[in-house]
Every structure is written in C-alpha cells, then in structure tokens.
C-alpha cells in the first residue's frame, strides 16, 4: 500500500483526534476523582484525623486529661461520648473499650513512648498515634458487636502482641449515667 501525501495527512489528523479524545477522557477521570473526594469530604464531613493538638507525652500520667482515672468512655453534656486511651509498648490502656451504638463517639488517643497506630477491624476508624500529639477520630457505630483493635505501626519487638478489643453495645444497655461520673471500660 503506497502512502500518498493525502493518506499521510489524514493519518495525522486521525491521530490528533484520538490524542484529544484520550486527553478529554483521562482529564474527565481525574476531575471525577477530585469531585468525589471534595463531595465526600464536605457532605459527609469525612476528614482524616487532623486535630494538630500537641501534648507532653512525658507527663501524661501526672495530670490532665489522660491520667489513669480518665481513661475509658465518658458521657458528655450533649449526650455524645468521649473515649480516652493511651498507647504504650505493648498495650493500650484500657485494652477493652466499651462504646454505645448510635451515639457520636470521639476517640482521643495518645502515646506515652514511640509511634503507635490503631484501627478497628470492620470499621473506618484508623489513625496514627504519634507521641507529642493527640489523635482524635470521630465516628458513630450503628451495630452492636465486638471488634479487634490492633496497633498497626511497628513499635518494637512486642508489636505483634498489641491488640485491644472494642465492645459496641446497644445504647439502651450503656451506663450513660455512670459514665457521667467516671470513665467506664470493659478492661479487666
């Protein structure tokens, strides 16, 4: 097949058209991705944990929010609950969290030594726990059940043993009144 100048011109025109179409399609995919990210972030207020709240990790147990008596679940004035926990090599304190269903939960975690992380299996609760900062995650559990909560960042040779439990119980069974006065948990 001889390539005449005419077919050459047409081939070039065709290739430019294909390039343009590909560009539009791929640009469309990227724009769609951005749109989904922006929509979910704004509409569902779905943000990663980003509170940027410094905390002196050397003095956690002496005073303030993360003393031993404060660890666990507390009822807030607005009916929501706050769960406070400390990550240490190689355990979480408390190592069993008690949480009511259908209640806004604010999880506040700090580390007393190195970097840890936590995720609750079967949920989107997932944060790094960087010493020097408070990690805050907000969520609502809709179903009662038990979940595992491993440390997901290497924190030393005992890392594989650092698993806690999360008991989500029906909100009718949750001791909201008691949790106003003192922190509750299912840790033994």
């Amino acid at each position: 097949m001889a390539l005449t100048p005419d077919t050459h011109e047409r081939a070039i025109a065709l290739s430019h058209m294909l390039e343009r179409r590909w560009g539009i399609a791929m640009g469309g995919i990227v724009v769609l991705l951005f749109a989904v990210i922006v929509y979910t972030a704004l509409h569902y207020r779905s943000h990663p944990p980003s509170s940027v709240e410094p905390m002196d990790s050397a003095r956690l147990q002496f005073s303030g929010e993360f003393t031993e008596a404060n660890l666990g679940t507390r009822t807030e004035a607005d009916g929501s609950v706050t769960v406070r926990l400390v990550a240490h090599q190689y355990t979480f304190a408390p190592n069993c969290l008690l949480i009511p269903t259908d209640t806004p939960v604010r999880l506040r975690a700090v580390s007393g030594d190195v970097i840890h992380g936590l995720l609750v299996l079967g949920t989107n609760v997932n944060t790094m726990v960087v010493p020097g900062y408070v990690a805050t995650v907000t969520t609502t559990f809709t179903k009662a059940g038990e979940h595992l909560m491993p440390c997901h960042e290497y924190c030393g040779p005992g890392h594989q043993g650092m698993w806690a439990h999360v008991h989500v119980i029906d909100r009718n069974d949750f001791p909201f009144q008691e949790a106003r006065r003192r922190s509750v948990s299912c840790a033994r």
Partner: protein, 544 residues
C-alpha cells in the same frame, strides 16, 4: 557502550545479587506471617528481616539499577564516552557499596530492627544511619555525573535534540537529588544526633513530615528507569516506532514537577498535620496520575504501530501480532497490567477520606509491591536482558528461559498481592511478626495468607531463573557473533523540532523546587514555633 561496560556490569550484578538475598528474606517473612509457621520465639528476627528486605529493596537495589542503567544510557544514547568522569562513577559505586555493607552488618547483628522507614522516637544504632547516608551520597555522585554528561552533549551538539532516553534519565537524576534531601535532612539533623545521644529530644511529627518529602517521590525514582524503557526500548523491541517523542519529554517533565509536592498523602492518618495540607497533597497526587495516563496512550499507540507493521489487523488483531516471545515485549505488557492494578489501589490510598479504610494495612503492601516490585522491577529484568549481550559481548542464554522468568515474576506477584488486598480490607495490619488465626475475625484471613506465601515461592523461583540466565550468558565463551548496539526506538515525529523547554530541564526543575516550597514550607515551619510536642528518643537496640 564505550568505556562503561565494566562499570554498568558491576552496578547491575550487585543490584541483582542484593535483590536475591532480600527476596529470600521476603519469602521467610511471608511464611512467618502465615498460619503454616509456629509463632516465632524471638519475633525481633521478623522485624530484623523486614528491615533488611526494605533497606535493600528501597535504597540499595533500585538505586544501583538506576545508576547502572543511567551510565549505559549516557554512553550509548549520547554516543559519548564517560572519559574522566569514570573515576567519579567508581567512587560513587564504592561509597554506595561501603554504606550498604555497614548498614547490612548493623541490621544482621540486630542493632537496627526499626524497619527501613525512619520514624523516631525509635532509633537504631548510628551505624545503620551512617550506612544509609553513604548509599545516598554515592547516588548523588551519579546525579551530578548525569547532569554533566547531559551538559557536555548539549555543548558539543548545539541545536540538536537530546535523545529521549537521556532526557528521562537526567529528569530522574534531578528528581532523586531533590527528593532525597528530605530524608537526608531528617537523618542528619534529627535521627542520627538522637541515636548518638547528642540531642535525645525530638519532634516525631516533624520527622515524619520530612520523611514524607522523600517517601513518595522515591517511588518515581524507582519507576522512571522503567518509563525510560517503555518509551525507548519497548517500541524498538516490538518492531515499531515511538508514537511521540515530544509526549515522552512532556511526561518526564511532568513527573519532575508533580512527584514532589504530594508526600503528605502518606500522613493522612497523622494527628500532627492539618486537614488543609492533607487535602492539597491529595489534589496534587491526582495530578501525578496524568503523566502515567499519557504514557498509557503513547506506548499503546507505539505498540499498535508495531502490531500493524507486522500485519496485525482489526481492532485487537495488532495485539496478537506483537512479538510476545521477546522478553522486552512480554515484560512491557505485563508491566502495564501490574501498573493498572497497583495504580487503581494507589488511587484509593491517596483518596483523602477513603484512605482510612486501608491505611497501614496489608492493602498498602499490595499496592507498592505491584507498582515497584511488579511494574518497575519486571522492566529492570527486561532491560538487563537487553543490556547483557551488549555488556558481555555474548548473546543471551536463553531468551526462552528469560521469557519464563518474566512470566513467573508476573504470576508470583499477582498471587502474592491479590490476597493482600483482601486481607487489607479486612483490616490485617502490615509489618506484624505473626497473627492469632484462632480468633474468628482473623481466621478468615488464614487461607488468603497461605496463597500469598505460594506467590512468594513463585517469585523466588523467578529470581533463581534470573540469576541463572544472567550468569550463564556472562560465563559462556565469547561468540563470533557481533552483537548489535542497543536499539532505541525511532520516533514518528523525529524530524519535528522540540521546544527549547523540552530539550532541557531547567524550567521543570525550577517548578519542582517552587511547588515543593509551596506545599512543604508551611507544614515544616509550624514545628519551629515550638509547641511542647517534643519526645525522648528510644534506642531500639538498648543503646544510650
């Protein structure tokens, strides 16, 4: 390849040798994680192995490959000897080797079981960091030599186009020189002083931000040699033309600009970075998808030219007509498949909110094993098969075995990583010595982990085949056959002049620096307004 044959061979032999050791460790790690093994009585051994596996495969192997391939490209595509630069090239190699040995000894003796990501306050023995720094300094010598060779060519050939292979290689050298500064600063200013006990108080958040400066763009440093092969060697091996030389240049330029200002997407789940900069980095991560999507078009079009020249017709007939028996051709096709899966997984990791469902799980491991271990490394193998006859003066022994090696690599990588995606969604953390599969929530993961272990075994067979092919080729008697020089693809638009900006990298490197400053200056500056977030360093090996 003029005067660089021994230099390139030395780099590539050490690279593949180190990779083989790391692969054995990888298989052992996968076995220990699986329900097949009894729980380790000393789990520290697992983390020691992960540290070695990662240090070799993140810092030593790809760096040596990029350097060796870079010297091959600089001498063959520019048709210009290294000359007096050769002495410096050997110096860089020696520094890298020394660093790798120092780091390896420190890891092997159990003084650096901190994994290969530098996340204080946990620190290793200082010798580990000194070793890694030497590796990086050795690679900086290479960066400088690539820029010098590029400048020499432009001076000697005013008005001429710099060959695309060299353009991409120098883009990668500039990218690496700039992106390695983040981790280098972290190690030299924070981690090493802490490890030595000189300044035991540090900000763990600042360290992570500095490490993220390096952490993402390093992946593009691993990937760009594969892209150089996609654009310049693959179309030639397929028997076709590069569809657009200009598009190739634009893609390398865009990688330079967009690889850097995106690293904070690794810190989405970090409490010390605000949502604004996380969001900004998510958007820029979306931008870095563009050069990859342009590449998919250009390379597919180049291969279509080859397929049609070989008589393939119809909508898909040209794909069948491609010379799939050739190692480079097969590797290119398989690399694209793995790039597609790995890339799709990556889009989920980088999605600001969606990341929460997979952050730090085995999903992430699957993503980067597919992108780097799969897509990039299979191209490293194919490049080695192209280079070996040119470096040794002996024909490849045998292309059939090489074909099987590449195929097994692909199969192994898929069998390894697909179950990882599933266990990741189930919430299985990465980097853990063993699991209690007796727990009902973990029991469902057990069979999948065994499948991954089988994938790891397949990969090990592939590594063995690689070494056999390279060794046998190197060891056979020198043949009478004249090996043709390395064939770079001719571009369809080779007579079309390129804009000045696409024959140099100055504009793009400047944009890279400016965008990095815009996206990192504020997050880093925050830490200097002292907030009482300092913590005490802790030596993992009990020192200080």
């Amino acid at each position: 390849m003029h005067d660089s044959r021994r230099l390139v061979l030395a780099h590539l032999w050490v690279a593949f040798g180190a990779m083989a050791i790391a692969a054995v460790l990888g298989v052992w790690q996968m076995y220990q994680r699986s329900p097949l093994a009894a729980w380790l009585s000393n789990p520290e051994l697992y983390y020691r192995a992960v540290t070695a596996h990662g240090t070799v495969l993140a810092y030593v192997f790809p760096t040596l490959f990029a350097m060796g391939f870079g010297y091959a490209v600089a001498t063959s595509s520019l048709d210009q000897p290294l000359g007096s630069l050769r002495r410096w090239a050997w110096t860089g190699f020696a520094l890298l080797l020394l660093g790798a040995v120092v780091a390896a000894i420190t890891i092997a003796t159990g003084h650096a079981s901190v994994l290969y990501t530098f996340y204080p306050p946990m620190t290793a023995h200082p010798a580990y960091y000194v070793g890694v720094v030497l590796v990086v300094v050795g690679s900086w010598v290479w960066c400088a030599l690539m820029v010098i060779a590029f400048a020499r060519f432009k001076r000697a050939h005013p008005g001429e186009k710099v060959p695309l292979a060299m353009y991409g290689t120098v883009a990668n050298a500039l990218l690496w020189a700039w992106t390695s500064i983040g981790a280098a600063a972290e190690v030299l200013l924070i981690v090493l002083p802490a490890s030595l006990g000189l300044n035991p108080v540090l900000d763990a958040g600042l360290s992570r931000v500095l490490f993220s400066w390096t952490l993402h763009a390093i992946v593009y440093f691993w990937l760009l040699p594969a892209y150089v092969a996609f654009y310049t060697l693959l179309p030639a091996a397929a028997g076709g033309r590069l569809y657009s030389d200009r598009m190739g240049r634009l893609v390398f330029a865009l990688f330079l600009v967009f690889s850097m200002p995106i690293g904070i997407h690794h810190l989405f789940a970090d409490p010390q970075v605000g949502s604004g900069f996380k969001f900004l980095h998510a958007i820029f991560t979306g931008m870095v998808v563009i050069p990859t999507l342009l590449t998919v078009f250009t390379i597919t079009a180049s291969l279509e030219i080859a397929g049609r020249l070989r008589g393939g017709g119809g909508l898909f007939g040209w794909i069948v007509a491609l010379p799939w028996r050739r190692p480079m051709m097969l590797a290119g096709g398989l690399a694209f498949v793995m790039l597609a899966f790995g890339g799709a997984g990556g889009l989920i990791n980088m999605s600001y909110a969606l990341n929460s469902s997979v952050h730090n799980t085995q999903w992430v491991t699957a993503h980067f094993h597919l992108i780097f271990g799969g897509s990039a490394v299979i191209m490293y193998f194919a490049v080695a098969y192209e280079l070996w006859p040119r470096l040794t003066g002996r024909p490849l022994l045998s292309p059939r075995l090489a074909w099987w090696q590449l195929m097994l690599w692909f199969v192994g990588m898929m069998v390894l990583s697909m179950p990882w995606h599933v266990t990741g969604i189930m919430g299985q953390p990465r980097r853990m010595a063993y699991f209690d599969y007796g727990h009902p929530a973990l029991a469902q993961m057990a069979p999948l982990v065994i499948v991954s272990f089988i994938g790891a075994l397949i990969l090990l067979v592939s590594v063995a085949l690689l070494l056999i092919v390279l060794w046998r080729t190197h060891r056979q008697p020198r043949s009478e056959l004249v090996v043709p020089p390395l064939g770079y693809a001719l571009a369809v638009d080779r007579d079309r002049p390129v804009p000045r900006a696409l024959n140099g990298l100055g504009v793009w490197a400047t944009m890279m620096v400016l965008l990095t400053v815009v996206n990192y200056a504020y997050p880093i500056a925050l830490y200097f307004t002292a907030q009482g977030s300092e913590v005490r360093a802790q030596r993992a090996d009990g020192g200080n």
